[in-house]
Amino acid sequence: MKRGKTGWIRLAVASGATAAGFAALLAGAAFGLQAVTLPRPSDNQLLAARTLHWLTAQNAIKSTAFVGGERVSSICVNATIGPLPAYPERLHASLLVTGRRRLVETRFASFRLGSTMREEDGPLPTVRAVLAGCPRALGRRIGRFLDDRAPVHAERVFLRGATMLRLAFRQGDSRLLVIVNPRTFAPVAVRIPRLRTGWSYLARAQRRDLIRPELRLSRRLRLIVKEEA
C-alpha cells in the first residue's frame, strides 16, 4: 500500500504521540512507585538540612557566650592542617580563637596552638568548636544527627524581637539545640543541654573580624595550619 505525504505525516504524528504517551505513562508509574513506597524525611529534618547547607557555605563564624557572667567572644575560621606524623594528608580543620587561646579542631584530633602545637585529648575541644559555631564542627554534629535520621523538633521562639525557629536534635544521650533564622536558615544560637552550657550566639564573621592579630600565625605554624577565610 502506498502512502501519500499526508499519510506519512499522520502516521509519524500518531506514532510520536503514542510513544510520548506510553513513555509518560511509564514515567508516571515510576514516580508513583517511588512516592508511594519510600518514606519522606520530616519537614523539620529538611529544615535542619537547610541549616547545614547554610553552614557549609560559610568560612568564618563569630560567637558570643556568657561564662560565669562574663562575655566571651570567639571567632572560628575554616582551615586545613597537615601533614602531621599521624595524619600524612592535609585535613580539614577549624581554627578557633577565643581571646588569646587558639585551638585547631579536626575530625580526628584537636591541637592547642602556642608557639608550637600540642595535641589536646578528650571531647572538650570539639564541644568548644561546636558552641563557637565553627561551620565544620557544628555542621558535623548536625550532620551526624541527620545521618542517623534522629528526630528533629522545631518550635517558634522569639529572640531579640524576631521570630526564630528552635531546632532540637536528640539521639540517645546526645542532644543539641540550635536556633535558626527561618528566612535564611542561618544558625543564630547554639546550646548543648547535656553540658548545662548557656546559649552561644552566632553571626557570620565580617572582614574586620578576620584581621584580628590572634588569627595571624607564626611562619612555622603557617607551614602546618592554613586558613581558608
Binding site: A23, A35, L55
Partner: protein, 364 residues
C-alpha cells in the same frame, strides 16, 4: 563511589569512618572466622556480601532519602533496589536477607535472560559461552552482593529479550525498571531503538509508537528520580549534589582528572584494578565486533564504561562495566576455540574467587 571522598573532604566522615571501621575490623573478622562454628561461619560469609554501599541501600529502604549537605548522603543511590528491599521487608524479611535474596535470585534470572538475548543474536555456542562467562566473570561477585547490579542486569536483559520478540509493553516495563536501578541503563535505549527500527524494516512497516515509547522508557524512568527528589526533598538536583560529596562531579575535563588522580599521592592502588578492567572492557567490546555485534550495542556499552570517567575518577568502573552486555559476547568470541575455552573459564573462575576475597578490603 568512594576513594576520593575517603580523603578528608569535610564531608567524607561517614565513608572514611566506615573504611576505618572496616580496616580495624579486618583482624576481628579473621579471628571470628577461625573461632566460629560452621553455622556461624555461613552468617559471617553472608554478612560480607552486604558490605560497602549495601548499607546505604538499606538506609534508603528503611528511612528514605535525605540530602545532607557537605557530607556523603544517600540521594546518590538510585531507588529500585531500596524499593524492592522495602517491599520484601514488608513481608517480614530483614533488609539484609532481602538484599541477598534479591541480588542472587535476580542474578539467576539475569543470566537466563542474557542467554536468551545472546541466543537471538549469536550462534548457540557463543550464546552459551557468553552466559557462562557472565556468571564467572572476575567482577561478577558484585552480582551476589547487596548492590542493585544483578537486578539491573536482569531487567536490562529482559527488556532486550522482550524487544527482540516484539513484546514492547513488557520491554518498556523492564527497561524502566533497569533505569530506576542504575542511570547507566539509559544507554541501552540505543540498542532498543535499533531493535525497533530493525524489526519495523524487516516487516516493511514504520516502527510503531509503542516500540519507540519502549525504547525511550529507560530515559523517561531516569528522569523521574530527580523529580521524586524534588518532591521529597525540595531539591531537584539532590542527586548531583550527593554525587559531588562522594567525590564525583561530571565535567568536560573529568577524564583528565581521572588520569591525574592515578598519580595523586595517597590515591588507592585499587584504582589500577578499575583501570585494568576499563581497558579489558574496551578490548572485549572490540572483540564483540568480530561476532557481528552492531554499532548501537557497542556505542551504548562503550558509553557505559567510559562516561563514569567524566566524573573525575576510574573508581568502580570495574563494577559499572559489568552491565555492558556485549563485553561477555566479546569474551565468548575470543574463547570460541575449544582449546582456549576451558582455560578461559578456569582462569575467570579463579579470578572470581580472588575478587570475592577482596570484598572486605575494597569497595567494588
Amino acid at each position: 563511589m568512594a576513594a576520593r571522598a575517603t580523603r578528608d573532604s569535610g564531608g567524607g566522615d561517614r565513608l572514611a569512618g566506615a573504611g576505618a571501621r572496616r580496616s580495624s575490623r579486618r583482624p576481628l573478622v579473621a579471628l571470628a572466622w577461625r573461632t566460629a562454628p560452621a553455622s556461624r561461619r555461613l552468617d559471617l560469609a553472608l554478612s560480607i556480601l552486604s558490605y560497602w554501599d549495601g548499607a546505604w541501600y538499606r538506609t534508603v529502604a528503611d528511612q528514605g532519602y535525605l540530602l545532607i549537605p557537605g557530607r556523603q548522603s544517600d540521594p546518590a543511590f538510585f531507588p529500585l533496589f531500596p524499593i524492592v528491599l522495602r517491599g520484601l521487608n514488608g513481608l517480614g524479611l530483614s533488609f539484609l536477607t532481602s538484599g541477598l535474596l534479591v541480588a542472587n535470585v535476580a542474578f539467576v534470572v539475569g543470566i537466563v535472560a542474557f542467554y536468551e538475548v545472546s541466543r537471538r543474536l549469536l550462534p548457540l555456542d557463543v550464546a552459551r559461552m557468553s552466559a557462562m562467562l557472565a556468571a564467572l566473570f572476575p567482577m561478577s561477585f558484585v552480582f551476589s552482593m547487596t548492590y542493585p547490579e544483578s537486578l539491573v542486569f536482569a531487567a536490562l536483559a529482559l527488556a532486550l529479550v522482550f524487544a527482540l520478540d516484539g513484546r514492547w509493553t513488557l520491554s518498556a516495563i523492564a527497561g524502566a525498571a533497569a533505569a530506576l536501578g542504575r542511570p547507566e541503563a539509559i544507554f541501552f535505549a540505543l540498542p532498543l531503538v535499533a531493535i525497533a527500527i530493525g524489526r519495523a524494516r524487516a516487516s516493511g512497516r514504520v516502527a510503531g509508537g509503542r516500540a519507540i515509547g519502549a525504547a525511550f522508557a529507560p530515559v523517561a524512568s531516569v528522569a523521574t528520580f530527580p523529580l521524586y527528589l524534588g518532591w521529597a526533598l525540595d531539591n531537584v538536583s539532590a542527586w548531583s549534589h550527593a554525587q559531588r560529596a562522594w567525590g564525583r562531579a561530571f565535567s568536560l575535563d573529568g577524564i583528565v582528572h581521572a588520569f591525574q588522580q592515578l598519580h595523586e599521592p595517597g590515591s588507592t592502588p585499587w584504582l589500577w584494578r578499575d583501570v585494568a578492567f576499563c581497558l579489558i572492557y574496551l578490548g572485549l567490546l572490540a572483540a564483540a565486533r568480530r561476532v557481528g555485534i552492531s554499532g548501537p550495542w557497542l556505542v551504548a556499552s562503550a558509553a557505559l564504561v567510559l562516561l563514569p570517567l567524566a566524573s573525575g575518577t576510574f573508581l568502580s568502573d570495574a563494577r559499572f562495566g559489568l552491565l555492558a552486555l556485549p563485553v561477555y559476547w566479546g569474551a565468548a568470541a575470543l574463547a570460541r576455540r575449544r582449546v582456549v575455552r576451558l582455560p578461559v573459564l578456569v582462569v575467570s573462575a579463579a579470578l572470581l574467587v580472588a575478587g570475592t576475597m577482596t570484598i572486605p578490603l575494597v569497595n567494588p
